[in-house]
Amino acid sequence: MSEHPHGSHADERPSVTDPVVTARHAEYWRRNIRYVAILMGIWFLVSYVFGILLAEPLNAVRLPGTGFPLGFWFAQQGSIYVFVVLIFVYVRLMNRLDRDFEVDEQGGA
C-alpha cells in the first residue's frame, strides 16, 4: 500500500470551522478530560498513596484470606491489577463517548 496524503480523506475529516461541530468537539474533549482525571486519580491512589506513602501503616493489616501485608500487596501485586483494569475501563468509556459524539471511526451519521 502506498502513502496517501491526508487530503484524500477529506470526506471523513471532521470540520473544525463549523461552530456547532466545534462546540460538540469541545464538549467531547471536556468529558474525555474528566474520565482521564478520575482514572488518573485512582492510578495515583493505588500506587503512590497505598503502595508507597501509606505502605508502612497498611502493612499492619493483612489482605483478607491471604498472608499478604496490605501495603506490600498494593506495591507488588494490587497496583498492577488495578492498572490493567483502569485501561480497559477507559477503552469502554471512550468507545461509548466516541459513538455518542459521532467522532468514532466506523463512519456513520
Partner: protein
C-alpha cells in the same frame, strides 16, 4: 539428553522460528518498514509490545533484584507497569491519530520547527543506544553461561539474527518475531515459577502462592521470610531500606520514562485505528503483568529457598547447584570464621556474612534449585535470549528510522524517493546493529548503570512536550525546545556527576533532597513541564494550522492508516 543438548535444541529451534518469520514478513515499502503497514491487530501488537518492552533485565535480573531488595523492589514493579496507564490515557490514541512514523516526526510537526525535530532525534538516538548496549551484552552473557561459548561469539550470533530480521523486515518483521518471542519468554518464565510455587506453597498459581502458607513451616510465607530475615540480621523483607521520598521519585521516573521511550511509543503507530491503539495498550499491559506479578513471587520463593538451602549448612553438604554456580564465580563462599558452615548474614547481624550471591542467579538457577528437568533449563536460556533480542530489535528500529526518516527525509533530503528512503532505512538499521554489537563486545564500564537512566532521560525529554503538545494548544516551539534541553541536560548532569565523576559521593547523604540518580528524571520532567509552560506564555502563539492540527488529533474520526499529515 543433557542440559547442554537441551539448551542447544531450544535456542536453535527458537532462532529457526524467528528467521522463518522474518522471511515470511519482509518489508516492501517504507510504511511496512516503519510501522508494519499500520495493519497489526491490537492483540498481536500488545504481545509484540510486551516482548519489545521486557528486556533481558526484566527476564533475568528483575526477580533477583527484588529478591535482594524486598519491598524496595516495588519501584521496578510499579514503575515499569504504571507507565502503560499514562500511555493509554494520555499518549497512544492521539499519536496514532496523528499518524506519524516516529516520535521526532510528531515533535517536529507539532512544534513547527526543524530545530525541535533535530533535538528530538538526538534525544531518541541517545536514549535508544544507552539501552541497546545492555541488551546486546545480555545476549552475549546468556550464550556464555548456558552454551559455554565466548561472550563475543555470543554477541556475533545474536547480532546476526537481529541483523537478519530487522534489516530485512523492518517493523513488520520485528513485530511478528516479537509475538513469537513473547510466547517463548513467557512460557520459559512461567514453567519454573509454577513448579516452585507448587513445591513451596502447594498452590500452582505463583501470584496466589505468594500470599499463601509455607508448607515446610505451616506459617504464612511472608511471616516465615520476615522471621528468617530478622534472625539473620537483614531488614524485614516487606519493609525495605530506601526512603519513602526516593521510592516515590524512582517509581515516578520509571513510569514516566516508560511512557516516553520512543521504541514503546512507536509500537502504537502500527495498529489500524485510534480505538485499536487504546485497547492495544491494555493488551500489552496484560501480557506484561503476567510476568510482572509472577516476578515478586519468584523473588520470595527464591529467597526462602536460598536461605533454607544454604544458611548454616556445612559447606561439605551443599547441594550440587551450589558448586555448579560457584564455578562460574557468581556465587562465592568465604569461610571467615573457619567453622566450615555457611554463615549467610545481613548487615544487622553480629556474625560476619560469608556468602556473596550475584542477583542474576536467582532466575537462572531456579530450575536447578527446584530440581526441575533439564529441558526447563534450556527453555530458560531461550527465554532470556528472546527477551534480549526482541528489545534490541525494537530499539535498533528507532535508531534507523530516526536517521532515514527524521534526518534524511524530513530534514536533509526531502526529495528522496520512496525506494531511496527504504534503502537508507535498511542501511542505517544495518549500521545501528553493527555499532550496537561493538558496544556489546566493548561495553563502556558504565553501561549497566546507565541502562536504568535511559528512563530518566526519556522522562525528562519527550514525555512533557508530547503531553503538552496534545493537551495544550498554546504550547509553543520555543517552550518545547527549551523545556526538552533543560530537562535532559539537568537529568544527564546529575546522573553523570554521581555515577561517572563522583561515584564515591553516590549515597543518600550527598543526593539533593535525598533523591537518587535513578529518581532524578522525575525532577527533570517537572522542570521540563515548568519551563515549557512558562516560556509558552511569553512567546507568540502557535500558527493557526498547528492549532487546527491539535483539534484534529483530539478526535478519533478521520484517522487513516499511518501517514504524514501535511497540515
Amino acid at each position: 539428553m543433557n542440559v547442554q543438548a537441551w539448551t542447544f535444541l531450544c535456542v536453535a529451534a527458537s532462532f529457526a522460528l524467528y528467521i522463518g518469520i522474518a522471511i515470511w514478513s519482509r518489508a516492501s515499502t517504507t510504511k511496512d518498514f516503519y510501522v508494519a503497514g499500520a495493519g497489526v491487530s491490537p492483540l498481536a501488537n500488545g504481545m509484540a509490545t510486551a516482548a519489545d518492552w521486557m528486556s533481558a533485565a526484566s527476564f533475568i535480573s528483575m526477580a533477583g533484584l527484588i529478591s535482594f531488595m524486598g519491598y524496595d523492589g516495588s519501584v521496578y514493579l510499579m514503575g515499569w507497569t504504571g507507565g502503560y496507564v499514562l500511555l493509554a490515557l494520555l499518549l497512544a490514541p492521539y499519536l496514532r491519530k496523528y499518524g506519524a512514523y516516529t516520535v521526532p516526526d510528531f515533535v517536529g510537526d507539532r512544534y513547527y520547527s526543524q530545530l525541535a525535530r533535530v533535538v528530538a532525534v538526538i534525544c531518541a538516538i541517545f536514549v535508544s543506544f544507552t539501552y541497546v548496549a545492555g541488551q546486546v551484552r545480555g545476549v552475549g552473557i546468556v550464550f556464555g553461561r548456558f552454551l559455554e561459548v565466548d561472550i563475543n561469539t555470543g554477541v556475533y550470533i545474536g547480532m546476526a539474527i537481529v541483523f537478519f530480521y530487522a534489516v530485512l523486515g523492518g517493523m513488520k518483521g520485528i513485530t511478528y518475531t516479537q509475538v513469537a518471542q513473547y510466547c517463548v519468554l513467557i512460557f520459559a518464565y512461567m514453567v519454573p515459577a509454577i513448579f516452585l510455587s507448587l513445591l513451596i506453597t502447594g498452590n500452582p498459581v505463583p501470584q496466589l502462592g505468594l500470599g499463601g502458607v509455607d508448607q515446610a513451616s505451616g506459617m504464612a510465607l511472608f511471616d516465615r521470610l520476615n522471621g528468617l530475615h530478622e534472625q539473620l540480621g537483614f531488614a524485614a523483607y516487606t519493609s525495605g531500606t530506601k526512603s519513602t521520598l526516593d521510592v516515590f521519585f524512582i517509581t515516578a521516573a520509571l513510569m514516566v520514562g516508560t511512557a516516553g521511550l520512543p521504541h514503546v511509543i512507536i509500537r502504537f503507530y502500527t495498529v489500524p485505528r485510534v480505538r485499536d491503539a487504546r485497547v492495544s495498550v491494555g493488551w500489552a499491559l496484560v501480557f506484561i503483568a503476567l510476568l510482572y506479578t509472577t516476578a515478586p513471587a519468584v523473588a520470595v520463593f527464591a529467597r526462602t529457598n536460598l536461605i533454607g538451602a544454604v544458611s548454616d549448612t556445612p559447606y561439605s553438604e551443599v547441594p550440587p547447584w551450589f558448586t555448579n554456580w560457584e564455578a562460574t564465580g557468581l556465587l562465592a563462599f568465604d569461610d571467615a570464621n573457619g567453622d566450615g558452615r555457611i554463615q549467610f548474614r545481613g548487615p544487622a547481624s553480629p556474625v560476619p556474612n560469608e556468602l556473596t550471591v550475584d542477583r542474576d542467579i536467582m532466575v537462572l538457577a531456579n530450575p536447578e534449585i527446584a530440581g526441575l528437568p533439564d529441558w526447563v533449563v534450556g527453555l530458560v536460556a531461550a527465554g532470556g535470549l528472546a527477551a534480549a533480542l526482541s528489545t534490541a530489535a525494537g530499539l535498533l528500529l528507532v535508531v534507523s528510522s530516526a536517521v532515514s526518516h527524521d534526518l534524511l527525509k524530513r530534514t536533509l533530503l526531502p526529495t528522496i524517493t520512496e525506494k531511496g528512503e527504504l534503502l537508507a532505512a535498511r542501511v542505517s538499521a544495518a549500521a545501528a546493529v553493527i555499532i550496537a554489537g561493538y558496544f556489546g563486545m566493548n561495553p563502556p564500564g558504565f553501561v549497566a548503570q546507565v541502562v536504568a537512566f535511559a528512563f530518566g532521560l526519556a522522562a525528562s525529554s519527550f514525555f512533557p512536550v508530547i503531553i503538552l503538545g496534545i493537551f495544550s494548544k498554546r504550547t509553543t516551539r520555543e517552550g518545547a525546545i527549551l523545556g526538552m534541553v533543560a530537562g535532559v541536560t539537568l537529568t544527564a548532569a546529575y546522573i553523570v556527576w554521581f555515577t561517572l565523576m563522583h561515584p564515591e559521593l553516590n549515597n543518600a547523604d550527598h543526593w539533593w533532597l535525598g533523591i537518587s540518580p535513578e529518581g532524578i528524571g522525575t525532577v527533570g520532567m517537572v522542570i521540563n513541564f515548568a519551563i515549557t509552560m512558562t516560556v509558552s506564555r511569553f512567546t507568540p502563539e502557535p500558527p493557526s494550522h498547528v492549532q487546527v492540527l491539535v483539534e484534529l488529533i483530539r478526535i478519533p474520526r478521520g484517522a487513516g492508516s499511518a501517514h504524514e499529515i501535511s497540515a
